[in-house]
């Protein structure tokens, strides 16, 4: 059996759904963050698969951009979470509702 585009896409959708579930269901900010990374990589996987399928490099170029930006984002995001934890002694989203009036 040869792996077709559809197989890659199914895996990508599964990964994305797992990530989304993590973002929605988990309460710890770090875990939510991991969920986000999963969703990002699901998108990357789909992009690479499309690139291959269309036989050009556009998708792969996009993935490199995504990875670079994601790296920067992760570092900023983790720094924020650490700072928040230091300030509030918690990383649970139920405790961080001060945006509400």
């Amino acid at each position: 059996m040869h792996a077709t585009l559809n197989h890659y896409l199914v895996v990508s959708v599964l990964l994305f759904s797992l990530g989304l579930f993590g973002v929605l269901a988990r309460r710890n900010l770090l875990v939510i963050y991991m969920g986000l990374e999963l969703m990002l990589n699901a998108a990357n996987l789909a992009l690479v698969a499309f690139s291959r399928y269309n036989a050009n490099l556009n998708g792969q170029v996009m993935v490199f951009f995504t990875i670079t930006v994601a790296a920067a984002e992760v570092s900023v995001g983790l720094a924020l979470i650490v700072a928040l934890y230091r300030k509030r002694q918690t990383a649970h989203v139920e405790d961080l509702t001060s945006l509400k009036l």
Binding site: L24, R27, I32, V93, K100
Partner: protein
């Protein structure tokens, strides 16, 4: 839409050549200049205040003589160079003067009485802390009054009309700390405003019908075409008369004049005897050509038929005269008696205009200005001597203590009553009676005779009670004659009260109004008895009867016998037919009620329901939407994802 721009602006404007009629500008400017100089710079210096104030009006008086002999006597008319005032669209108004027979006579009256009143006030107001303010206001009043006299168009007339209202407001309310004075000033101003409302509408109507507000041009237009005002002619007449009704205190706007006696007595003499109240009569004479237009009513008023505006004016004038004479009989305040007598005489003049005798009205206006100013200044002298006692029943026996005042007062009384042959009042009153007979108003003639008799009655009552008999209070006991500055104006005013009768003033005025009629009239001392024996005889009879009745009732009376014998009527008269009470109950609640309704609407509907309503709903909506903001990150994410899914679903 009229877009034609007249080039009137270019053609007017002062030409810098000296012409005798331009003196008119100086006459007008002198009192204004005096008033401004006092108000702005001189109010600390009494001597300079007096110098400017009295000097200004005396100079104006002398210049008025020049104008009178140059233009009045010769019958010439002149228009001093006008200044452009408001030229836009179809409205062309100049600041212009009219110098002719009518205005020059009136100029002499106004400046003459003003000058004497100012002299008199130098003593009367000596100790008042508002000395400078008084003279500034007095000069300003003279200026506005001269403006009315000299105006050559309706709009300017209205301008000075209002200014006279303002300056009389200042003078009546001169002692502003007294509640009564402040209220009287307000009342006078507002009652006058009510008349001015009609006057203004009349001016606008005249302008819209003829496109003109100049007296001479309007007169020429109406002469050429008596139907120029169309169906509105009588309405125009009545609206213009509204103005006169306010200033000359005709029924039903007469209520302010008696209250205006709260002002200082010289003010009463100047404003409420000689000048301001005469302005209404002067207006009627000045605009008499408007009333000569064909009588016509718009459809809604067609039931009035052939009754002309003049007829209505005559009835109102006669009614006011009767009403005021009745009230005067039962007043006890010396100034109020004179005030009601003024009202009554003004009604007489208005009646004269109404029966078609503006010359007789102007004649009586001129003589009345002299002897009524004399009477008021005499009353002022009495009040001054009795330490501000104004009740005649607390005087008595003043004749011996104030000889000059007494003698001049008697001369004034005789003139007001119309004592035959020797007083100016006799001739001018006779002219009015003659006019009413000649123009076919027998009822008004009878009314005139009746009022003449009542006038004599209340004036003789005043003289007997205040000056004869014995003193009834300590202040009357210790009265002594006023200083010379106050007595000599009385003497000066007594001269025209007698002497005016011997000048051909009546003929002069008749000539001004009706051209050549003068030839028919026969002047001279016994003239009235020769050319109109009926009027003169009835008039004389009325005086004799009135005087006899008063002497019979009041000689040696200690108190007024009438309240006992005529209880009900006396009470009604004392309370001035309850006009003030009726107005207070009727008109003020309406205006205040409307104001209350608007206040309620604004508070509860405008700012309550609407503004607060919009404010409230916006805030409620905000509160509702705030519920959605849980602050929970995952709720937001869930909604976000749901939204994305929804959009994708729709897009697919």
């Amino acid at each position: 839409m009229e877009l034609v721009v007249t080039n009137a602006v270019a053609s007017v404007g002062p030409a810098y050549s000296s012409r005798p009629e331009d003196i008119g500008w100086f006459i007008l400017a002198l009192p204004l200049f005096a008033s401004l100089a006092i108000a702005l710079f001189l109010h600390r210096n009494r001597t300079l205040t007096l110098f400017f104030s009295v000097g200004g009006v005396v100079a104006a008086f002398l210049l008025s003589w020049v104008l009178f002999f140059t233009f009045g006597v010769t019958g010439l008319k002149a228009v001093p160079s006008p200044f452009p005032w408001f030229h836009a669209g179809g409205l062309n108004v100049n600041l212009g003067l009219a110098v002719d027979g009518l205005s020059t006579v009136m100029l002499l009256v106004v400046t003459g009485v003003s000058a004497l009143v100012q002299f008199y006030s130098t003593a009367y107001m000596r100790d008042d802390r508002g000395f400078a303010r008084f003279f500034a206001s007095l000069s300003f009043f003279t200026f506005s009054m001269l403006g009315i006299v000299l105006s050559d168009n309706l709009v300017m007339m209205f301008v000075f009309w209002e200014l006279v209202g303002f300056s009389s407001y200042l003078l009546i309310g001169f002692w502003f700390e007294r509640e009564a004075a402040a209220d009287a000033a307000k009342k006078a101003f507002l009652t006058n405003r009510l008349g001015d409302f009609g006057f203004l509408l009349g001016i606008i109507l005249v302008w819209s019908l003829t496109g003109n507000v100049q007296f001479d041009e309007l007169a020429a237009k109406l002469k050429a075409d008596p139907n120029a005002l169309g169906v509105w002619s009588s309405v125009v007449g009545l609206l213009i008369f509204c103005g006169a009704m306010g200033k000359s205190a005709q029924f039903p706007l007469h209520v302010w004049l008696p209250d205006a006696m709260e002002g200082p007595t010289p003010v009463s003499a100047l404003i409420h005897a000689a000048t301001m109240v005469a302005a209404g009569v002067y207006l009627l004479c000045r605009a008499f050509f408007l009333f000569q237009a064909t009588t016509a009513w718009p459809a809604a008023l067609a039931f009035l038929g052939s009754i002309s505006a003049l007829d209505i004016i005559a009835v109102i004038g006669g009614g006011t005269a009767l009403l005021a004479a009745l009230i005067a009989i039962q007043q006890n305040d010396i100034k109020r008696i004179l005030a009601y007598s003024t009202l009554s005489q003004l009604g007489y003049m208005v009646m004269a205009v109404g029966v078609g005798g503006p010359d007789a009205a102007m004649y009586h206006l001129t003589t009345h200005a002299g002897f009524k100013a004399l009477l008021f200044l005499g009353a002022g002298s009495v009040i001054h001597a009795c330490h501000h006692e104004q009740d005649i029943w607390k005087m008595g026996g003043l004749g011996r203590k104030l000889p000059v005042t007494f003698r001049t007062f008697v001369i004034g009384t005789a003139a007001l009553a119309g004592f035959p042959l020797f007083t100016s009042g006799f001739y001018s009153k006779d002219a009015i009676l003659v006019a009413s007979v000649r123009h076919g108003h027998p009822i008004l003639f009878g009314l005139g005779v009746l009022i003449a008799s009542m006038t004599t009655f209340y004036m003789v009552r005043l003289v007997i009670v205040a000056f004869l008999g014995r003193s009834r209070s300590s202040s009357a006991e210790h009265a002594h004659e006023s200083p010379i500055q106050m007595t000599w104006p009385l003497v000066v005013l007594a001269i025209p009260s007698i002497g005016l009768a011997w000048l051909p003033l009546g003929q002069y005025l008749t000539e001004h109004f009706f051209g050549s009629r003068v030839a028919v009239e026969e002047g001279g001392l016994f003239g009235p008895f020769n050319h109109a024996p009926l009027a003169a005889t009835f008039g004389t009879g009325a005086i004799i009867f009135g005087a006899w009745a008063a002497i019979a009732t009041y000689w040696n009376a200690e108190s007024d016998p009438l309240p006992r014998s005529l209880a009900f009527w006396s009470r009604v008269l004392r309370n001035r037919f309850y006009f003030d009470e009726i107005y207070e109950a009727l008109f003020i609640p309406i205006q205040d009620g409307l104001a209350a309704v608007c206040g309620w609407v604004d508070r509860w509907v405008m700012s309550g329901l609407l503004v607060r309503g919009v404010h409230g709903t916006t805030e409620l909506a905000g509160r509702a939407l705030r519920m959605v903001q849980t602050g929970n990150l995952q709720t937001y994410t869930f909604l976000f994802v749901g939204g994305v899914a929804l959009i994708i679903l729709i897009a697919l």
